[in-house]
């Protein structure tokens, strides 16, 4: 009994022995689309250089920027991944919080895919179809001059060539960069096919944004979380649902998922790289230059990310579904990282 109490007292007071004061590992947040790539690079980085593994959270580009810009120092992440550019407003927050030396690396290209289970008939969509299926307010089919609440509940009602399946789409929440890209690349493009909205865009851009980007809230559009793996799981078992995520998730699950074509183009590596697939966008990584003198592995991690064996034409990232950027841009990336190291 006494010995036991003694043991406990010893245990408690020994706890501080194990504590370390400062974070030693790299901390990464941001886009769920980039997450699998970041994890893969992190793994190569850890296993081949013997550095501590980075801690990588999938938070979405928006939340990622929020945490990234919240301050400089070790409580805050060193890197945020993004599937969109940093907005000027976010840059201002960063500056206000002392995050001044940010480097941006364009790591690759990606296509936003609308995927369904293979059990469902294949969707061949136009941007207009997607807009009509998902926007909260759409032009009245009878009278194209006014907007009404979205009346469509099945794909066939939008376009008779589409299958007679209920509309049921899992999409990224506003905290995700994929959502921003989807808004501007798909929803707005789809909306401008209507003269009414084209006019509106010229005359009242704010109202146009509202009309084009506001997603319906009757349960047919579902803001899924920042876990794209989870959406993939849900699609596999849900034959009539459709999911929106990055190309790599499709590539990893080609056995059970198929992509819808947009304006006649399927999301293939070639189509995305050439920009033919309408929903193609670039992926980025933002890092704090200042932190390279506080976190040992930071330059080495970035170096691994831009290296030939990772981002190259036949690199391991490309095998996972990232579309590599042209060799010239890659060289530029390597120089950026090098300049960071030499500092």
């Amino acid at each position: 009994m006494k010995k036991f109490i003694l043991f406990l007292v010893l245990l408690i007071s020994a706890t501080p022995c194990f504590a370390q004061n400062q974070r030693r590992n790299i901390s990464i947040v941001g886009s769920s689309t980039v997450y699998p790539f970041a994890a893969l690079v992190g793994e190569y980085f850890t296993r081949t250089t013997g550095n501590l593994s980075p801690h990588i959270e999938s938070t979405g580009s928006g939340s990622g920027f929020k945490r990234f810009c919240a301050g400089s120092g070790l409580q805050y992440p060193d890197i945020t991944n993004a599937s969109r550019l940093m907005t000027s407003e976010e840059r201002a927050t960063c500056l206000a919080n002392g995050v001044t030396q940010i480097i941006r690396i364009k790591i690759g290209r990606d296509g936003i895919v609308l995927a369904t289970s293979r059990a469902m008939p294949k969707l061949n969509l136009t941007l207009q179809d997607v807009y009509l299926a998902l926007a909260m307010q759409v032009p009245d089919p009878e009278n194209h001059q006014r907007l009404i609440a979205n009346p469509y509940s099945r794909w066939q009602q939008i376009n008779s060539a589409l299958p007679n399946v209920a509309i049921h789409v899992y999409g990224p929440p506003p905290s995700s960069g994929t959502r921003d890209a989807f808004d501007s690349l798909v929803m707005e493009m789809g909306a401008t096919t209507f003269p009414l909205l084209r006019k509106m865009k010229k005359e009242n851009p704010a109202a146009f944004k509202q009309a084009a980007n506001r997603m319906r809230e009757d349960g047919r559009w579902i803001d899924a979380g920042e876990n794209d793996y989870l959406i993939v799981q849900k699609l596999k078992t849900n034959p009539d649902a459709c999911g929106i995520f990055g190309f790599s998730f499709l590539k990893q699950n080609e056995k059970s998922l198929q992509a819808a074509s947009l304006n006649g183009y399927l999301p293939h590596s070639a189509n995305i790289a050439a920009g033919k697939y309408p929903a193609s966008r670039s992926l980025f990584l933002y890092a704090k230059k200042q932190n390279s003198s506080m976190v040992s592995g930071l330059p080495a991690y970035l170096q691994e990310f831009v290296s030939q064996r990772a981002s190259g034409e036949r690199g391991y990232l490309a095998r996972r579904g990232m579309i590599p950027i042209p060799a010239g841009e890659q060289r530029r990336n390597r120089e950026i990282v090098k300049s960071m190291q030499n500092k």
Binding site: M1, F4, L8, V9, L11, I12, T15, F18, A19, Q20, N21, R23, R24, N25, S27, Y35, P36, A38, A39, L40, G42, E43, Y44, T46, R47, T48, T49, G50, L52, S53, P54, H55, I56, E57, S58, Q75, R118, N227, Y229, L230, V232, Q233, K236, F249, Q252, N253, E254, K255, R309, R314, Y316, R319
Partner: protein, 426 residues
């Protein structure tokens, strides 16, 4: 009308009805018991069955030439280990010249093959210049094929292995170069993005560190509180409120503690996210109530006569407690603590909020290194749609259940040992 012969021994219709109802009742009880045990039993059999393939890993035997030209650089880490693997594959399967086909060939191996070569060279540079036949891990797809979980009939466009890869596989298999080994990696490695390299040791270590913090915080504080409340605290409105609060806290959903941890420990005190330190603190808040309640019950169950006798013989209040009541109640307190810890061990809802849903690719060294815990690893893998991950998930569940069965056996043993024997009366 014939008068029926009535005997007290033959049951009347009403009695027969009552007996029938009695039998039905028993049947319902039996069915319920069988149903509840068999459902949960089936779940485990299903999980166990799913997990089996994860305990072995297919390896391919390759003749690796550690040629000196490959190690011209002073820094051994910069050598191209992938090339060593590719050259060895070319030796086994000659005649592949197209770069695309070469890549397909290399994709049959896990990236872990090259990493293993790197480790071997680093640990013993004398290997440079030798030729060795090595069993190196195959990729997850080949692994699945070897385990018979790959459907060759799916159209090539949709399956993950090409026609050529299948041909090469058959060739290697015929030569006896593919074999399944016990998957040590699974028990010694941290998490990985590749199923064939993913292990649970990182998560287990994270769990153990977390449990260490939880034990250190919740046991002394919980037991101390219980002793104070049960033996010393005055009985007044305050203590009644405290008692009610504690019993209420025991029923609070675990996820709320995650919210608390996020608001207080991370956002206010700036403790590092996703570390066993924070996780242990949050989980110990969650286990306090159950430890306090179990300890109070154990203390209350010690016969007062023991205490009275001690007091009558001149012992002080504190002496009667530390010498008599506490030793008698200790098994109860310990079992309560163990059960509380077991619950904390398997809990991951609060940790969802503490940044533990993350990739951590190495084994945490201390309580302030980022880590995940075993149930969180299971959650992460269950979502991962990659090839081979469902099996790993099931295997991780099996390991976690083993831990819990061990804890429960200890609890049972403690209880049986002390069930009817009061250490001071026997």
């Amino acid at each position: 009308m014939e008068r029926e012969k009535m005997s007290l021994l033959t049951p009347s219709a009403a009695l027969r009805r009552r007996y029938r109802r009695d039998r039905l009742f028993l049947l319902a009880g039996r069915l319920a018991a069988v149903a509840s045990f068999s459902t949960i039993g089936l779940i485990f059999l299903a999980i166990l069955y799913t997990s089996l393939p994860a305990f072995t890993q297919s390896c391919i035997k390759l003749p690796i030439h550690f040629e000196e030209t490959a190690f011209s650089n002073e820094n051994l880490d910069l050598a191209n280990y992938d090339m060593l693997v590719a050259q060895a594959l070319a030796r086994v399967i000659p005649g592949v010249t197209d770069p695309g086909e070469k890549e397909e060939l290399l994709e049959m191996m896990s990236p872990g093959a090259a990493w293993r070569l790197q480790r071997m060279v680093n640990s013993n540079p004398k290997r440079i210049g030798t030729v060795q036949q090595l069993w190196l891990p195959a990729s997850a797809d080949i692994d699945m094929l070897r385990k018979g979980k790959f459907d060759r009939t799916t159209p090539e466009r949709r399956r993950r292995l090409s026609r050529r890869q299948l041909k090469w596989y058959d060739q290697l298999n015929a030569e006896g170069r593919i074999k399944r080994y016990f998957n040590w990696v699974f028990f010694t490695a941290p998490n990985s993005t590749e199923a064939e390299l993913a292990g649970i040791y990182g998560a287990v270590k994270g769990s153990l560190l977390t449990m260490f913090i939880t034990l250190v915080l919740s046991f002394p504080l919980g037991a101390g509180t219980a002793i104070y409340l049960q033996e010393f605290a005055p009985r007044n409105r305050w203590t009644t409120t405290i008692n009610v609060t504690i019993s209420n806290l025991a029923a609070v959903p675990p996820i709320l503690y995650g919210l608390l941890g996020l608001a207080v420990f991370i956002n206010f005190f700036h403790l590092p996210r996703a570390t066993p330190l924070v996780a242990g603190m949050v989980l110990s808040l969650m286990t306090f109530p159950s430890i306090i309640m179990a300890s109070r019950n154990a203390l209350a169950a010690v016969p007062r006569s023991v205490c009275d006798a001690a007091l009558a013989l001149g012992a002080s209040r504190m002496q009667s407690i530390t010498h008599h009541i506490l030793p008698a109640a200790m098994p109860g307190i310990l079992t309560g603590t163990l059960l509380g810890l077991a619950q904390a061990f398997g809990e991951c809802a609060p940790l969802l909020m503490l940044g533990m849903v993350a990739f951590v690719g190495n084994i945490p060294a201390g309580i302030t290194d980022p880590a995940t815990v075993l149930p969180m690893q299971i959650y992460l893998w269950a979502d991962n749609s990659g090839q081979g991950f469902p099996e790993k998930t099931a295997a991780a569940i099996v390991i976690m259940m083993l831990f819990l069965v061990i804890v429960n056996t200890i609890v049972l043993w403690l209880r049986r040992k002390f069930e009817n024997s009061h250490p001071h009366t026997s």
